[in-house]
Structure formats: C-alpha cells, structure tokens
C-alpha cells in the first residue's frame, strides 16, 4: 500500500471493517445446487479472487453476497452484524458488473453521483466526492459525456468510480475485464490494482482467468462445481495446488493418469505405459494407487540422451512463439502432452522428455466428476 | 341472452309541454340524404330556439342499418338517436317492427292542420307513415331518362324504343340496382304503369309484362352499378349514354358538377309519376324532452319558409311537401340553380301526368328480391 509520487492526494477512504464472515452460505436453483455451503472470512482491505470455470457458481456467490439473490441457507455477518436479511440497497456494498451496467442516459458525473443522490447526500458534498473520485479514476475531462461515448476501458473506470464513491465497505466485481480485448485487459488490470492499492478497498473479485486472479488477488478461492476446491495466497496455489483440478487451473497443462509405483516421504515414482519418473507428493497417496501427475509445459524438458528420459513422445504440432516453440506431442500411450522448448523441433520428431521431480506433482486420482473438469479447465471456461 | 327487441321504456306521455324542461341535444340520423335539403332549416331552428335544443349532431347511414340500430338502443334502454330522417324504406321497416313513436296524439299540439296543408300527392304519400312519421319533403321522382345529347340524338320516348335503342347500343343504357338506388327503384316501379301491367301494386302477380321486359332488356345491359352515383359517373365519363333518372337526380348532380351540364332529360309518353317522399320519425324510448324538441323541429321544418329551403340544389325537386311554397320563396342560390340546371318542362309534366305513390315498403322489398332473383343475379 505504498503511495507513489504520481498518486493524487488521497481524498476518499473506504469505510473499513474488520471482518466479513460468510457462514455456510449456499444457493440452489430448484433441485440444482449452484453454490454449496461456503465459509469464508474476508478481512478488511483484502483483495480476494473467486476463481473457477464457467458455471461453477461464481456469479451466484457474488450475487448472494450482494443480496441480489436470496440465500438458500447460511448467514453473512459484517463485524458481527447480520446483514443477509437486508435487501441489496441496504447492505451498502459496491458492485462492478461484468458489462459495467452504466446508466446509459446519465452522464459520467451523474452515473457516479447516482448512489449519493439515492442516499440524499447534500449537493455540495456530492459534488466534492464525485470530483475526488473522478480524479482518482482520471476521468475528469470525460465527466460530462454519456457512457456510450466512452471507450471500454473508460467505461470500466466509471463503473469502478460509481461503486467506490459510496465508500462501501466491500466492492464486488463480477468478471469486470472479460469483455475487453487482450491489450486493454492488461491495462485495466493494472488500473484496478492501482485503485485498490491507493484506496484500500476490500474487494471480492470474480474471474475465470487464473492469470488475472494470480496477478491481482491477496487470496484466491478456487471453486469447483459450487464447492471450494482450495483457498490460499497466489503463490500457495501456484506452487502447491492441492488437487489436479487446481493444478490444471494453475497452468499445469499436462495432467497424466499414471500409477504410483512407490511412495516415500513426499516423493513418489510414477509409472505408466512406457513412462516412469519421479515426482513430489503433496497429499496422501499410497503406493500402487492410480494417480494424476501434473506438469507444466515449461517443466517438460527434452533430454540430452535417451538414458535419463522419463518417457518418449512424438511431436505432432509445433508452433513458433518467438524464441521458443510450443510443441504438442503424443506419448506412446496416446496421451497428448504440451511442452515448451527453445530447441527447433519439427512435427514427427521423436522426443525424449524428462521432468524435474520437484516440478511433477502427484495427486491421488480424483473421482470421475472432478477429473473430467481437471483434464482441461479451459474447455469449460 | 340475446337482447330482446321489445321496447323497454314506458309509452310516451299523452300530452306534452311546449318546450323541454331543459334544452336537449338532438342526435339526428339521416339515412336518406335528407340533410342536404333540411340542414339549413335545422340549423336555423337550433339558432332560434336555444331554449329547446342545446346541440345538434348529425350522423349519416344507410336505411338497412336503422331498425337494428334502434332495436339495439331500445333493448339497451339507452336510446341515443333522437330523430331519424328517412325514405320509405326505413320508415316501413321501423313501422313493421314498432320502433317509432305514434305521433297522432301530438298532431293538434304541434302540427295543427297537418294533412290539409300537404299538397295532394304529398298527402297521399303521408298516409304511408301511418302516423308514425311526419312527411317533410316530397317529389314526383320519375321515371325519367337522362342522356348525353352528343351521343343520343333523339331519346327513346317509349319503352319499346328504349329496348330497340339498347339493342342497337349494347351496354350503353344503365340503371343501378333498385335496392340501392332511387332512380333504379323509380324505374322499376314506373315500368308497370308504362307497360300497362295488370296490377302495378303487386310485384309478384301483377308485373308479368315488367319482368318480361326487364329480362329482354337485361340482354343488352353489361352491368348494374351498385348506386346511382356510379351510373351518373358513367354517363359523365361516356361509358353510358342513357340512364334512368328522376327530377332531383337530373338537376342536383349537374349542379354539383358530377355530371356535365350538357346532359339532357326526357320522359316517356304517357308516363305515370311514381312519387317519393322523406319522413322524420322519432324512435320510441326517447325522453319526453327529446320528443318535444323533435316534434318542435319537425313542425318548424313544415313551415313554408323552411320548406322553401328544400328546393335546395334540386336534389328532391321540387321538394316542399306543403302547399303553396313556390320557387320564388326559395333562397336565391336555390333559385339560381334551378333556373340554370333545372328543366322548365318538369312543372308542365307534373301537372300533365298522373301521380302514384311509391309501393309500400314491403311490396318494394318483394320487388327488389324478385329483381335480384330474375335480373340482378345474372350479372
């Protein structure tokens, strides 16, 4: 939370709270439970990302907290005060919607002032606070424009400004970047980060993009079909995912179904059809059990000689990515593996691959349901 | 359940005050084109009697609509129509269904000497109303024929000559469907007299010559337009050269510019006029105040000065039903129209030839049905 020299003088400060406690909140649509009981305690000033593939219940969770959806069960407490029975307009949270949901008939200034007007804040005070927020989001010159006249990035800043001008204890954001193109997304991410840092907002951020989540959040909550798969800091999740599902989400594109030959104090030897190498065990895995081994593309290396190869694969598709090649290869067992290498590889080349045991994570094989999602989280995204 | 056609209101009072308790709105329904003749008089009445009428509305329609409309109003107990201006058609159907107030009781109060004031032929027409309507305009009608002198050098003067002419000029003689056309029905009702049929009053049994003649004539006729206006337009346009007409239809369309002034009119030798009239009737179920206002209005229309206005632009030439109203009393514009577009011989012909009433409405309907069946349905 260090202010840099360029930051405008801080004029706003969110109403801080100590903790927001979600206790077993859940939500069902008819027979389908979209969100299984979720427990989470958010500390004031934290930036929390809710991460998961499409349909896993992220929006449901967010809307339930906002009060836009009634809860099926559970309670929400803000510093000990029960708030889940209040309608959204009484909870006083801010929300940034996926497509911003700016009021198209109101100017930027009036969009931002809307909430203050609803709260019957005096004219002068409104004026002052809106101007301060406009400064903060650097939209002073655009204050008189209608949202339709702004670019996507500017609109997004208006949406954020509208949410934070009320100095809400909590800001909820539902995939605010998913409508933007890649370059703008990067810029906006930086902007959100900056505003959060300057303003000390408590933020609950929904996304299905792990990179976004990793780069923004203090803590991540990974959801899998309405259930929490793992909660932790970005590096915890990135380095030590607790399941193949989370690993797949964290950039371990190769998930191999193998068998644990031997397990020994955090290290395991895994084998399969023509495959044999060592890996690291994080959770309980017993020797002889089916396992899933997660390896990042950049951790699969082309071996110098055949001797130390973990397994062999035939390059099928080779893509040039500048300085390195992205190779899709087929193992003898017919699984597809992805690797990155600076070496020039041609389709059809036979490759001997190795992997650093510390970089190969071994998990007990998940049940079919979760396993399906784990194979390629992107497909569901 | 179906709305019943019985009149819900009690029968009108035996005697009435001279003026309504408060000025009333008169809703006048005209299904005869009568307003063209009487509207100025009605306006004058309204202007002169604000204590009787506060407002007058006019609606136009067709005769067949009248009975059902009145029945519906009466069944609903909400009679909005105060006065109907009609020809013999809706007069008769309304009488049959008992829709109109019998006015005989009020003759002495509102129409002293009513029958004796009418012209002779008009008085005879007035009896058709059976005291349920007041005859307000009258004319001898026809049958006449109107022709284009540029095409027809000498108009046929007998029915045979007409047949021969039609044969020579197929499609050039036209008369409109009698059900919808004054000249059409006058032509139909006048034929039995011209042809010497056994009973001109009985279309079913007494019109054998007429039906035979029309059937023969039908061979040389292309179409029966649905209204007189269409035949007039055809005459003007040159698609017809000879059409059935009446005194009014000869003068008025030429005065209005629907038909060129150059068209001429002719009569048949030894013709018999089939006279026609229009009536004012008051539906049962109106309030006493409305009844009073209606009667006062009708009485006003029968005054000579009002009657003189009915010379109009010749639509119902001459028009006045009462005695002693001459063209010289008519407004200057009327006089000018009649002198420009009128036929000076009309007055001679009117004194020269006998006059008979139109058939009673029921007999007319029979005649129309027969015409439709024998003649109209072939086209």
């Amino acid at each position: 939370m260090t202010d840099t020299a360029q930051t405008p003088a801080k004029t706003l400060d969110a109403q801080r709270f100590n903790e927001l406690r979600l206790q077993g909140i859940s939500r069902a649509y008819g027979a389908h439970t979209a969100l299984h009981p979720l427990d989470l305690t958010v500390r004031g000033g934290e930036f929390i990302a809710l991460l998961g593939p499409s349909g896993c219940g992220k929006t449901t969770a967010l809307n339930s907290i906002a009060g836009l959806l009634p809860l099926t069960a559970g309670s929400i407490e803000l510093d000990g005060r029960r708030i889940d029975t209040l309608p959204p307009e009484k909870r006083g949270f801010g929300m940034v919607f996926q497509n911003y949901a700016l009021f198209p008939h109101l100017s930027v200034r009036r969009n931002i002032a809307f909430g203050l007007r609803m709260r019957k804040v005096s004219k002068a005070e409104t004026e002052r606070r809106v101007s301060a927020v406009l400064d903060l989001v650097r939209l002073n010159e655009h204050a008189h424009k209608l949202p339709g006249q702004l670019s996507g990035g500017q609109q997004q800043r208006v949406a954020i400004a509208r949410a934070i001008v009320l100095e809400p204890p909590l800001v909820l954001m539902d995939e605010p970047l998913s409508n933007l193109d890649a370059a703008l997304r990067l810029d906006m991410r930086a902007e959100i980060r900056r505003i959060h840092q300057e303003f000390g907002l408590t933020t609950l951020y929904v996304t299905h993009d792990q990179e976004e989540a990793l780069s923004l959040a203090d803590r991540l909550v990974v959801l899998n079909a309405g259930r929490v798969a793992q909660v932790g800091t970005p590096s915890e999740l990135y380095e030590s995912p607790r399941s193949a599902y989370v690993a797949a989400f964290m950039g371990y594109r190769n998930i191999l179904s193998l068998r644990a030959e031997s397990v020994d104090a955090g290290a395991a030897t895994v084998v399969g059809d023509g495959v044999k190498f060592a890996g690291t065990v994080s959770a309980a895995v017993t020797a002889g059990a089916s396992v899933q081994v997660a390896v990042r593309p950049e951790d699969l290396k082309i071996a110098a000689g055949e001797a130390d190869a973990a397994f062999e694969a035939v390059a099928e598709v080779v893509e040039y990515h500048g300085r390195e090649f992205q190779v899709d290869a087929l193992t003898r067992a017919g699984s597809r593996v992805h690797l990155r290498t600076p070496e020039r590889v041609a389709p059809g080349d036979r490759l001997s691959l190795t992997v650093d045991p510390r970089r190969a994570l071994v998990f007990a094989a998940e049940n079919a349901e979760a396993g399906g999602a784990a194979e390629d989280p992107g497909e569901a995204g | 359940s179906a709305p019943s056609s019985s009149v819900s209101s009690s029968s009108p009072a035996a005697s009435l005050a001279a003026t309504p308790s408060s000025p009333v709105t008169l809703n006048i329904l005209d299904v005869a084109g009568n307003l063209a003749l009487t509207k100025p008089a009605i306006q004058a009445f309204a202007a002169a009697n604000p204590h009787i009428v506060s407002n007058i509305t006019y609606t136009t329609g067709t005769a067949p609509d009248v009975p059902a409309k009145l029945k519906a109003e009466q069944a609903g107990g909400n009679v909005q129509t105060s006065l109907v201006l009609t020809g013999t058609d809706a007069l008769a159907s309304g009488i049959t269904d008992g829709l109109y107030v019998n006015l005989k009781t009020y003759y002495d109060q509102f129409f002293p000497g009513l029958m004796s004031n009418y012209q002779t032929a008009a008085a005879s027409m007035a009896t058709l109303a059976q005291d349920q309507g007041i005859e307000i305009v009258w004319y001898p009608s026809g049958p006449l024929i109107e022709y284009n002198p540029a095409k027809v050098a000498t108009p046929p003067a007998t029915t045979d000559a007409l047949l021969a002419w039609a044969q020579a000029n197929p499609g050039k003689y036209q008369y409109a469907r009698p059900r919808n056309s004054g000249p059409g029905r006058t032509w139909l009702m006048g034929l039995p007299y011209l042809l010497g049929d056994s009973d001109p009053a009985d279309p079913t049994n007494g019109w054998s010559k007429t039906w035979a003649y029309l059937t023969e004539l039908n061979k040389y006729i292309d179409q029966y337009p649905s209204g007189t206006t269409a035949t007039m337009k055809n005459l003007a346009a040159g698609t017809a050269d000879l059409i059935a007409s009446t005194t009014g239809w000869y003068i008025n369309p030429r005065a209005l510019g629907t038909v060129p002034k150059s068209m001429a009119v002719a009569k048949f030798q030894n013709m018999t006029w089939v006279t026609d009239a229009q009536f004012g009737v008051i539906p049962k179920g109106v309030s006493n105040d409305t009844l009073i206002a209606g009667l006062a209005l009708l009485a006003y229309i029968l005054t000579p000065s009002a009657q003189a206005v009915t010379y109009d632009k010749g639509y119902f030439y001459p028009g006045p039903a009462v005695k002693g109203v001459t063209i010289s009393q008519a407004p200057a514009s009327s006089q000018e129209v009649i002198s420009t577009y009128g036929e000076p011989e009309f007055d001679t012909w009117m004194t020269q030839y006998p006059m008979k009433n139109s058939l009673p409405a029921t007999a007319q309907v029979t005649a129309f049905d027969l015409w439709d069946k024998h003649i109209g349905s072939t086209k």
Binding site: A66, L68, P87, P88, E89, K90, F93, G94, M95, F97, Q98, N99, A101, F103, P104, F114, G115, M118, R119, R162, A163, L166 | P3, T25, N27, I28, L29, D30, V31, A32, G33, N34, L35, A36, T57, Y58, T59, T60, G61, T62, A63, A72, E73, G76, G77, N78, Q80, T228, T229, K233, A236, A237, G238, G248, W249, P253, L256, G257, T258, Y315
Partner: protein
C-alpha cells in the same frame, strides 16, 4: 496500368449484364406498384382540388372550395376533435396498461406465461369484425355502445397487445443488471422504476405510442361497430359519407379523404423519426 483499368471496366460491364434481367424485372415491379399507388393517391388529391372532372387526364379547373364545403358538410371540426380525443385517450390508456404488462412479460418467466402471451396475441390475430360484433353487443348491454367510453374501450382491444408487443423488445434490451446496479447504489424500487427504467423506455414508449396513434386513427371496424352520434371518428364519417344515401360530390369526399390521409402522413412522418419503417409492422429486434 491501362490494361488493368480496361480489365476493371470489362468486369464492371460483365457484372452489370449479369444483374440485368432479374433486377430490371424487380425494379419494374416496384415502379409499377409505386406508380399505381401514386395514381390512386394522385387521382384523389387532384379531384379534391378540381372543379369538375368527368373524363380525361385532369379536372376542368381548380378550386379549394371543396375543402371548406367538406369541412362544413361533414362537420369535420367536431369529428376531428372527437377523433383526436379518442386517439389520444386510447394511446394514453394502452401505454398505461401495456407498458407494465410488457415489463412483466419481458422480465419474468412464470407458469402460465404462454397463456398470457396468447391472450395478448389473439386480439391482434382475430379479425376485428369477429370480436367487434360480440363486443358491440356486449357494450349495448352495459349501456356503453355509442358512447365515447365504448369506442375507447373497443379500441383498447387491439392497442394494448400492440403496445405489449412493441415494448417487449425495448424492455428486453435494457440490461436487468442496470436495475441491479441501481439497487447496489442504494436505490429503492420506486427510484429504480422512476429514474432508470422510465427514462430508458421513453423512446420505446414514444414509438409504441405513435404506432398506436396511427393505428387507432385508422381503425375502422371497431369504431364503426361501436360509435354513436357523438363518438364518430374521421374514418367512420368518411365511410358514411362515401356510402350513405344521398348525392354528394365526389370532390367533397375526396377532400375529406385528403384531410384524413394528410393527418395520417403527418403522424407517419413523426413516427418514422423514432422507428424504422420495418418496425411499423414487425416486432423490432434491433
């Protein structure tokens, strides 16, 4: 370079040739249709300012007296007043009834929605005469036939569904998240409706209102069946003038028809400022 230009020229020619027969035929059809429509309108307009016109291409002289005569003869002052009163009332009421209904239909999926939709589509499908007759009968029974109220009520039957069908897509276009966003800003239901939904729907309501105006203005059957002496609209007077007994100059009727069409055209031009021509007949989707 010259060769290229030549080739391009040749290509253009070839394309033009290929388009020819079909296009010509189609444009000929369009022109034929428009010429005939123009003829139909033109005859009436010309006749309405003509003195007499028995035959030939043009009237024998020109005058404006037909208009003043028509105005007096058909009591147009009163008729126009009634027409506008009825039309505006119908527009107002059908918006008042139709807009909330279309909001509910656009926003909610509920058991029986199809039945409600059917209820709103049938009055548009069933010929006005077919329900107009029973409706007139019923109105007589409840003493509303012929009254101003009766005419307005009858005209609501096709207008309300029409508003519903015109408005629904407009409402669907408004992102429900705007309402949620307003709530998140602390707006109670009243403010959400008043400050967010209503202003955003204004163009839609204008469009629907004008379309209902145009349609009610021209609605013949229902008004004809239910109108009384004081509640006739212009179309009905026009029809009566053209069909009822007596001699009328065609010029006067034509003058009246031109007044009618003129009013309609003005309404249409206003309407087209707000809606696409295709929206006049179809549910708007863009």
């Amino acid at each position: 370079m010259a060769a290229i230009a030549q080739a391009a020229g040749a290509r253009r020619e070839r394309r033009a040739l290929r388009m020819r027969p079909g296009s010509w035929l189609v444009w000929a059809l369009v022109v034929f249709f428009l010429v005939n429509v123009l003829g139909v309108i033109g005859s009436v307009v010309l006749d309405s300012v003509g003195k007499t016109w028995f035959s030939g291409w043009t009237p024998t002289g020109y005058t404006t007296s037909n208009y003043s005569q028509a105005w007096d003869e058909f009591d147009l002052g009163q008729v126009m007043t009634v027409t506008f009163q009825i039309t505006l009332l119908v527009v107002g009421l059908s918006l008042l009834i139709g807009v909330p209904a279309s909001y509910a239909l656009a926003r909610r999926d509920f058991p029986g929605k199809r039945a409600v939709m059917l209820l709103f589509v049938l009055p548009i499908l069933v010929p006005p005469i077919a329900y107009g007759i029973p409706l007139a009968t019923m109105l007589y029974k409840v003493h509303l036939a012929g009254s101003f109220t009766g005419v307005v009520a009858a005209n609501l039957v096709p207008s309300v569904p029409f508003v519903v069908y015109t408005m629904t897509p407009f409402i669907e276009q408004i992102d429900p998240r705007l309402e949620q966003a307003a709530r998140m800003c602390g707006a109670p239901t009243r403010s959400v409706l008043g400050r967010i939904i209503a202003p955003l729907l204004l163009p839609g309501m204008l469009a629907a209102g004008i379309l209902v105006l145009v349609r009610t203005f021209g609605m013949f059957e229902l008004t004809f069946l239910t109108a009384g002496p004081t509640s006739q609209t212009l179309v009905v007077s026009l029809f009566s003038a053209a069909t009822s007994a007596g001699i009328r100059t065609a010029q006067n009727i034509d003058a009246m028809a031109v007044i009618y069409t003129g009013s309609m055209l003005v309404l249409l031009v206003i309407a087209l400022r707000f809606v696409n021509p295709t929206q006049l007949v179809a549910r708007s989707r863009d």
